[in-house]
Amino acid sequence: MVTIQNLHKKFGKNQVLSGVDLNISEGGIFAILGPNGSGKTTLIKSVLGMVIPNKGDITVLGENIKKNSEYRHKIDYLPQIANFPSNLRVKELIKMIKDLRKPTDEDQRLIELFRLEPFLDKKLGNLSGGTKQKVNLVLTFMFDSPLVILDEPTTGLDPISLIRLKDLIKAEKAKGKTILITSHIMSFVEEISDEIVFILEGKIYFKGPISELKTKTNQPDFEHAIASILTDNHA
């Protein structure tokens, strides 16, 4: 699905990714974890072509992404902070993104799912953070692409919406999609992901199912397993 080979990225003097090799197979939920500033977002943005790597190759569904924009038809991306043009209405934004990508009817179902009907005529600048995130989710999920990338999808969501989001993600997985998630909420990750990818200092430190991580670190639960990686490496 996604193959990353020897990926290097530097921002000025700051080496963020130093030789990432990663192979994401088709189908399933993969959580990308790592401490703050470990390069999770940079990795995701490299796959999306928003960050141009200094070195390395990325292929998505067999297509090399260099100097290519067509492959993004197969990716749905949820950005970390949803900041939309503030003088646009929710309805207009959805219509516009559909116009830029392709027509779909899926948005109706998602608007109902996240109870967004009362906000459709409101301007995006007047929405609360959580509501913006819901709009963001609608924009992401309405295209039904085989690869879904979610950067901190839980930000700002209330408990009910969080449950709905989890159900939505599970339903997408059941359709055979590949889903990449970054999150700092460990319980969310543990509940939802099939495999985790742990990034540390610009390299892949661990890739595999959570149970394997627990045996590797000798910790009974997931949160402590993660914590032990961090203390072992920063002690």
């Binding site: 921002f11 943005k45 999306l48 072509g49 928003m50 960050v51 141009i52 924009s69 067509e70 492959y71 993004r72 038809h73 990716i75 991306y77 950005p79 902070i81 900041n83 939309f84 043009p85 003088n87 646009l88 516009m96 993104i97 116009d99 830029l100 990508r101």
Partner: protein, 260 residues
């Protein structure tokens, strides 16, 4: 690209500033016609205003629009759209909406005053054409500055400096060089000097057309002598087009390499 252009254009058409800009030109046109009571004289006065103001507005609007739409640009970047289409679309959206404000704002009062029956129509058209060129040039330069500077304050600062340099300081330096080297033949130097600054170039172009190049002194005389009016016109337009194409190419080039 056309879709992005369409949305940027609509977005700006709905913004208050486009109307303020439009209203300003409308008012300026009306007041000048009322005061001068003569189309040709109004054109000359307008030229002096346009040559300084259009670049300023183009620069500020360009920088402002880029920084304001940054988050939205990120959203677009994750869509299956080419980078060059996104940025060129936005650039043209800004430049065209500004040009439209200029053309309509000045055009309406002049048309009502009887532009079509007057001999000043070509001079006036030339004024609008150079105004449009200046908008295209300075919006493109502003996008270049914004693309190269993450820091908004710095971006704004450089943009204003650029305008100040080309609109004011350049002329001063140019004049000083001419005075310092007045013992030498300066025809070529002054010619090249004029070519290298789109604001000077536009001014010369209009003055040549208005046939009042004597007002311009040295540069105008040189231009007239070297090119004759119609050849000078073509060379100037080629130069102005060059001034549009270069920064636009850099937008395409720079946007391809940038990280978001």
């Amino acid at each position: 690209m056309l879709k992005i252009l369409k949305y940027s254009f609509y977005d700006l058409m709905r913004s208050r500033w486009s109307y303020v800009y439009f209203a300003f030109y409308l008012l300026l046109g009306i007041v000048l016609l009322f005061l001068n009571n003569d189309l040709s004289k109004a054109v000359i006065t307008l030229m002096n205003v346009i040559i300084v103001l259009v670049p300023l507005i183009g620069t500020i609007f360009g920088v402002m629009y880029y920084y304001n739409s940054q988050e939205f640009t990120e959203l677009l970047l994750a869509q299956p759209i080419k980078r060059s289409s996104i940025f060129l679309g936005q650039y043209l959206g800004v430049a065209l909406s500004l040009s439209m404000s200029l053309i309509l704002g000045l055009g309406i009062p002049f048309v009502f005053y009887g532009l079509f029956e007057s001999s000043a129509i070509w001079d006036f058209s030339l004024l609008l054409i150079t105004g449009t060129f200046l908008t295209l040039i300075f919006t493109a330069l502003a996008f270049n500055i914004a693309l190269s500077n993450e820091n908004k304050i710095k971006g704004f600062g450089y943009a204003i400096l650029l305008w100040l340099f080309l609109a004011v300081i350049y002329d001063g330096l140019f004049l000083m060089t001419l005075i310092m080297f007045e013992d030498y033949p300066l025809d070529k130097l002054s010619l090249i000097g004029t070519m290298l600054n789109p604001i000077d170039l536009s001014r010369t172009l209009i003055l040549l057309k208005l046939d009042i190049s004597a007002l311009l002194g040295y540069t105008g005389a040189v231009f007239k002598q070297f090119f004759g009016t119609s050849f000078g016109l073509i060379v100037s337009f080629v130069m102005l087009t060059f001034w549009v194409v270069m920064p636009v190419l850099r937008i395409v080039f720079k946007s391809k390499k940038k990280d978001f």
